[in-house]
């Protein structure tokens, strides 16, 4: 009886409004599918190959996007661009490459990410591809320090990536203030410190608004900022993050001396520098309220922009100062690689070689991206437009990569926290480095 009733009810439902509703719903869904599929079909190229390229949204990625458009016009090969902000790019690429989907044919990589991709064998070795094109390998025009980044192991191993944008740190300083106080261009960190002291003490009302000029400005916010500003000092003082046995050694005597020196420089840095990031340092330099800093070439052009800069024509750029060891900058290059699961490796390699050729890289350089080719650093047209190129080349050639480990993101985070704690006065240099060393050891231990 009960079942009968229910089936009656169900039948009644089937024959009345729900049937019509269902039909309408199905129709609507079918309609949407049709539109969607047609649009998809339209979007595909009529003929020829398609490559998919993952790029950073920013000035470096913009240059490569433009190159892709030009390449498409020349060759008919369609290039899909997948653009991500810096913070997401690494994660997207790592997840996709680990899933072996082959969704990307080319990826842009920041060089500290490379060891992770290289160690996990997620990239295509380039030498065989270059050989099949009749090339012996990458040409000799690339700056060796940049090319070495794309090898695993570093410098000596097989080639997996070519360098596209060649950043390395520079020392920025106010040449007008240096001249006023008869100071020479600093070649050692001690000279930087004494110049910072003199300027801080004497320029108490020398800023464009009448305020104080700080002798030095650094960024010591936890994470990347503090580490990037510390590494050149650390290396110059003879510090090494890992000893010969691969164990962390940031709390060595050299490391402690270097951090104490950083704290000494901090006395001439604007208050609150323990939370400064690149934008704070940039603001102080552009406003003329700080005289010396370590910074990246991307900032150079803003100093001649009247809308931003109160120090037009007053900045000078030079290679990193030294101490016990010669000065060496941190390198920061954008690399391009072909994922191992790409289904179009030959075509991808053709684009890679084309985009990193001198001719194409020059166009990227004109947009403000430092090149990775010696010939371009010496190109008269470019040098005229970017007068810091000779200093940039000197800095790049002698630069060092961040310690090459697949756990760099995590190590940099932990190290940066303790550097920032030392700079904010929460910990002494010795305590900060001892605790950092313990954390780094734990990270390495977990990775085993």
């Amino acid at each position: 009886m009960k079942t009968n009733q229910r089936s009656n009810g169900a039948r009644r439902l089937d024959h009345r409004s729900p049937g019509i509703t269902l039909a309408i719903l199905c129709g609507a869904i079918l309609f949407l599918w049709t539109i969607g599929l047609t649009a998809c079909r339209r979007n595909e190229p009529q003929s020829g190959k398609t490559l998919t390229l993952a790029v950073n949204s920013g000035v470096e990625g913009d240059a490569l996007k433009q190159a892709a458009l030009d390449y498409e016009k020349q060759t008919g090969v369609h290039i899909n661009i997948a653009e991500f902000p810096y913070a997401n790019l690494f994660e997207k690429e790592l997840l996709d490459l680990n899933a072996h989907t082959g969704a990307y044919d080319l990826i842009m990589l920041d060089d500290p990410w490379f060891p992770k991709f290289g160690k996990q064998q997620l990239l295509t070795e380039l030498t065989p591809l270059l050989e099949s094109r009749g090339q012996k390998g990458p040409d000799a025009d690339f700056v060796p320090a940049s090319l070495a980044l794309g090898r695993e192991p570093y410098q000596t191993g097989a080639l997996y990536a070519l360098p596209y944008v060649g950043n390395s740190q520079l020392l920025f300083y106010r040449k007008d203030l240096f001249a006023m106080h008869t100071l020479m261009e600093p070649v050692t960190w001690d000279e930087v410190l004494s110049a910072a002291k003199i300027i801080s003490e004497q320029e108490t009302a020398g800023a464009p608004g009448g305020g104080k000029v700080y002798g030095y400005v650094m960024r010591a916010a936890q994470g990347n900022a503090a580490v990037a500003d510390f590494m050149p000092i650390f290396w110059a003082f003879g510090g090494e993050m890992f000893d010969a046995g691969g164990q962390p050694a940031v709390n060595s005597a050299e490391g402690i001396a270097a951090l104490n020196f950083m704290l000494e420089l901090g006395k001439y840095s604007p208050p609150g520098y323990a939370s400064f990031n690149a934008d704070d340092v940039g603001a102080h330099l552009l406003q003329g309220t700080a005289a010396i800093s370590i910074n990246w070439p991307a900032w150079i052009s803003s100093f001649s922009d009247p809308a931003k800069s109160k120090v037009i024509g007053k900045m000078e750029f030079t290679a990193m100062p030294g101490a016990k060891n010669p000065g060496r900058a941190e390198i920061g290059n954008w690399l391009i690689a072909i994922p191992r699961d790409s289904k179009n490796k030959e075509a991808a390699c053709d684009f890679l070689v084309w985009a990193t050729s001198a001719e194409q890289m020059k166009r990227s350089a004109e947009r403000g991206n430092p090149p990775t080719r010696k010939s371009l650093f010496n190109d008269p047209e470019l040098v005229k437009k970017f007068p810091a190129y000779p200093a940039q080349l000197r800095s790049l050639e002698s630069s060092r990569p961040r310690p090459r480990t697949p756990f760099w993101n995590e190590i940099e985070n932990a190290f940066g926290i303790y550097l920032s704690k030392a700079n904010s006065g929460e910990l002494s240099a010795v305590d900060a480095l001892n605790q950092a060393n313990t954390e780094i050891a734990k990270i390495l231990e977990r990775g085993k």
Binding site: K2, R6, L13, Q222, P271, K421, S424, G425
Partner: protein
């Protein structure tokens, strides 16, 4: 006869109900239940030497992770301080603006503005205002003749925590106020009249009439704010990014870093479950306390 018809109606209604609910259940299964199970699974996996195996390793690591423990402490300090201040201010404002006064509508509307702004915008604006060297706050203080040398708002370990609490109070006190005001307005006039006749003082009226009657609203406001405060992310991320050093790192920030910067999804999932558990316990505690005790 009528009964049979109704029974029929119920049976068919039930079938229809299943049919209508099925799509939502499917979506829920795919987007909520499956990820939840997946999160539990990865939190119970530890990879070693390229192999992934079942283990409680992630939960064991929590206990000895100094970063996690101090992030937990920061989150608690932040949540407890912000909640207390927001509640007291919100209650005060609600009681004040529940009375008849001039410009009441204007005040009420004005008070709600901070809450309507996107948190990210609030974070950026406050970050600029709190800037030690170029910010509006220190600039104004200097203009008024104060010495601002020590006022490195977001840059010194002690002040940074106070700064993020202050910004949260600024933005979210209106929320407390709004809910408490709604609670106050729902109280009928009679108990007050009775209290008046009995000759109770203003404080006695507030303590014995207003508070008990507004209790459900207090419960809702505290509960929602507690859950929000414990998972705070955006303001802190923009104002200090957890710095200087580690002074303002909260659990959500640390979970985000662990998952998306260090690719340790299992450990991040384990921490998320701990946060979930803590939130649940605290919420249950609230409900208990507020239900059990007569205010």
């Amino acid at each position: 006869m009528a009964v049979t018809a109704r029974a029929r109606g119920i049976g068919s209604d039930r079938n229809l109900a299943y049919a209508l609910v099925a799509p939502s259940v499917a979506v829920l299964l795919a987007l909520s239940i499956y990820p939840l199970i997946h999160a539990v699974t990865i939190s119970l996996h530890v990879s070693a030497g390229g192999l992934s195996r079942w283990s409680f390793g992630n939960f064991v690591r929590l206990v000895s992770d100094r970063f996690f423990l101090s992030a937990l402490a920061h989150t608690m300090i932040f949540a407890a301080s912000a909640l207390t201040i927001e509640f007291l201010l919100g209650l005060g404002l609600a009681v004040l603006l529940n009375q008849k006064m001039r410009g009441r509508g204007l005040f009420r509307a004005g008070l709600l503005v901070p809450m309507m702004l996107p948190t990210v915008v609030v974070g950026v604006v406050w970050r600029l205002m709190l800037n030690t060297n170029f910010g509006a706050i220190n600039g104004t203080l200097q203009g008024a003749g104060f010495n601002t040398t020590g006022l490195t708002w977001t840059s010194s370990p002690g002040l940074a925590m106070i700064s993020i609490i202050a910004v949260d109070v600024w933005q979210w006190t209106p929320f407390m106020f709004l809910i408490l005001l709604a609670g106050l307005q729902a109280i009928p006039q009679e108990p007050y009249e009775a209290a008046l006749i009995d000759g109770s003082s203003a404080w006695q009226t507030f303590r014995h009439v207003t508070l008990p009657l507004v209790k459900p609203a207090i419960l809702v406001a505290l509960l929602l704010r507690t859950m929000d405060l414990l998972r705070v992310f955006d303001q802190v991320f923009i104002l200090t990014e957890g710095g200087p050093g580690f002074a303002t790192e909260t659990i959500s920030l640390y979970i985000y870093r662990t998952a998306f910067r260090f690719s340790a999804f299992g450990y991040a999932a384990a921490m998320s479950f701990v946060l979930l558990l803590i939130t649940n316990i605290i919420s249950a505690f609230y409900i208990r306390v507020l239900q059990a005790r007569e205010l």
